[in-house]
């Protein structure tokens, strides 16, 4: 038994020909964040969380995040943040400093100010790349969840557009220390061109994020599917109720519970095992364990 950590930067239909200039900075970010966790990922504009969050149909950023401690099952969540630099840290403050678990929108922003966390101008989170993505999504008149590549403008590529939905960009981290204490955190900007006020799976305990004394899970993908399949809790439930191993439980949830093309997850167990599974084309992911094993990957490993 030892510590283990796993990260993801979103799962989806990541094109196999993803250009190196889009791939390499993400790999570098994952490598760097293996050391420090989600808070760092939020500060990299390559992922859809914190700076670099995708835009709502009004061109604004609404971020959400969730954190859970496996030993105590204490948890905190936030939605609808517009100025808080690190959403995940505000989720933690909700967990520690309020009688509630989940604060959203104006109430969450007011709480952030009360707690004196770092805030910034709304424009800090808006990248020119995401303005372009929103413009294209609006032209295509749909909720756009492809985050890795601009949508091809040529109408002849209609089919690639339709199949090109990838929910790339949510970030998450799960960790177990060498005492077997588990924790999970997930943070996201949501979907490109999402309706104002839309809440996804990320801040919902049991959907995008869950930890208990057996395992810690962070999920990513199509929020609406992950929510109805209670993906994160079901990994734990299968271990608890059916005696599945971490690997089996994650494989069952990704294979049987969530529709193909909709979900990915990273998970660690109290024993120090780690698993990273997805039913999408790819998932930005990385892990490391105490015995020296480490992996950084995007597409299925052979």
């Amino acid at each position: 038994m030892g510590w283990a950590i796993a990260l993801h930067g979103g799962a989806g239909d990541i094109p196999l020909n993803l250009p190196p200039e889009r791939r390499e900075p993400r790999e570098a970010a994952l490598r760097h964040c293996l050391d420090i966790g989600v808070r760092e990922l939020e500060n990299y504009p390559h992922f859809n969380a914190g700076k670099g969050s995708v835009l709502t149909s009004d061109g604004t950023v609404e971020m959400e995040a969730c954190i859970m401690d496996g030993r105590t099952k204490k948890c905190g969540a936030v939605s609808g943040l517009t100025t808080v630099v690190n959403a995940i840290s505000l989720a933690r403050l909700v967990m520690e400093k309020t009688p509630h678990i989940y604060l959203a929108f104006d109430g969450a922003e007011a709480f952030a100010r009360e707690q004196g966390v770092e805030t910034t101008d709304k424009s800090h989170f808006v990248t020119s790349e995401n303005i372009e993505r929103l413009k294209q999504a609006k032209e295509a008149n749909r909720v756009q969840i492809d985050y890795t590549q601009p949508i091809p403008k040529e109408p002849t590529k209609e089919t690639t557009v339709a199949d090109g939905d990838s929910q790339i960009g949510t970030v998450g981290c799960v960790a177990v220390d060498n005492q077997g204490n588990l924790a999970t955190a997930t943070s996201t900007g949501g979907l490109v061109n999402k309706m104002v006020g839309r809440i996804g799976d990320t801040p919902i305990i049991g959907a995008g994020t869950y930890a208990n004394s057996l395992c810690a899970v962070s999920a990513t993908g199509r929020g609406e599917s992950i929510m109805r399949a209670t993906v994160a809790r079901d990994v734990a439930a299968l271990m608890e109720y059916k005696g599945f191993s971490l690997e089996e439980a994650a494989a069952y949830v990704v294979g049987e519970c969530a529709p193909k093309g909709t979900a990915g997850l990273v998970a660690v167990s109290a024993k120090g095992e780690v698993t990273m599974q997805f039913n999408t084309t790819g998932m930005f992911r990385a892990c490391a364990t105490e015995d020296g094993y480490s992996e950084i990957a995007i597409w299925p490993s052979v």
Binding site: P99, H100, Y102, L103, F111, V143, G197, I199, G206, A237
Partner: protein, 326 residues
Amino acid sequence: MGGWAIAVHGGAGVDPNLPVERQEAAKQLLTRCLNIGISALRSSLPAIDVVELVVRELEADPFFNSGRGSALTTKGTVEMEASIMDGPGRRCGAVSGVTTVKSPVSLARLVMEKSPHSYLAFSGAEEFARQQGVETVDNDYFITEDNVGMLKLAKEANTILFDYRIPTHGLDTCSAAVDSPLVMNGLPISVYAPETVGCTVVDGKGRCAAATSTGGLMNKMTGRIGDSPLIGAGTYACELCGVSCTGEGEAIIRGTLAREVAAVMEYKGFGLQQAVDYVVKERLDQGKAGLIAVSRDGEVAFGYNCVGMFRGCATEDGFMEVGIWE
């Protein structure tokens, strides 16, 4: 296949000193809502329509904490939330931070049916309501005189005692709770507004559905989201069963209570009542809560670990029960 079944609740955690006429009023309301559900089921309405219909009725009545009669935020405003889930296909919709929509559960249904998303909140949810042309009213419509008084008591209780949680040994300093040492959601139970309404239904074709609606916690922070709108926490339905929970929201969220009933049926092969009992006993830790559930086989069950739950249930074979205590 066991025919249809329906269960409704009006919150768990009831002040044992609740005046008898209030108890009677609660029972009458639950009975009226059950009857509305029963006649809808007899007319072969699908489960999803029946849960919406019944919860709408509960929202319109000021008695329980949902729609009109919702608990107030610390600012004295109403912020309502609701969710609905259809077992077949596990489709779901939820709303939070709704301030003018007369029936939050119907807005949740519209999120499920008419938006690409499952969950909309605050100004975005209000905007969507206007787009959809649902009935809206001034926020004052939801505020009752009773609740204004309750908020005042809740604020007094909170200013006397540390944080929002009230240690039981401090209750003699709190005028609001002298008569009752019981605490629900950190408030003396006599101040705590009966929580949350919900309905679960299985129709004659074995389709399950669940819906939950609430004003949340008395004196809650603005922006607070509880268990009611969260799929898997306050509300859940799948092919096997439909579940609606009520009680201490934070405990229900941590325990993923509604999904858990379905999970132990699915993964451990438990029957409905066995699953409900297991979940109430094992998944709540220190938290106080209750839940109602129906199975696709036409069974109905409820469970709670606190003092009393407003609930009623009926099945196709003529069984009907409305109660508050054990």
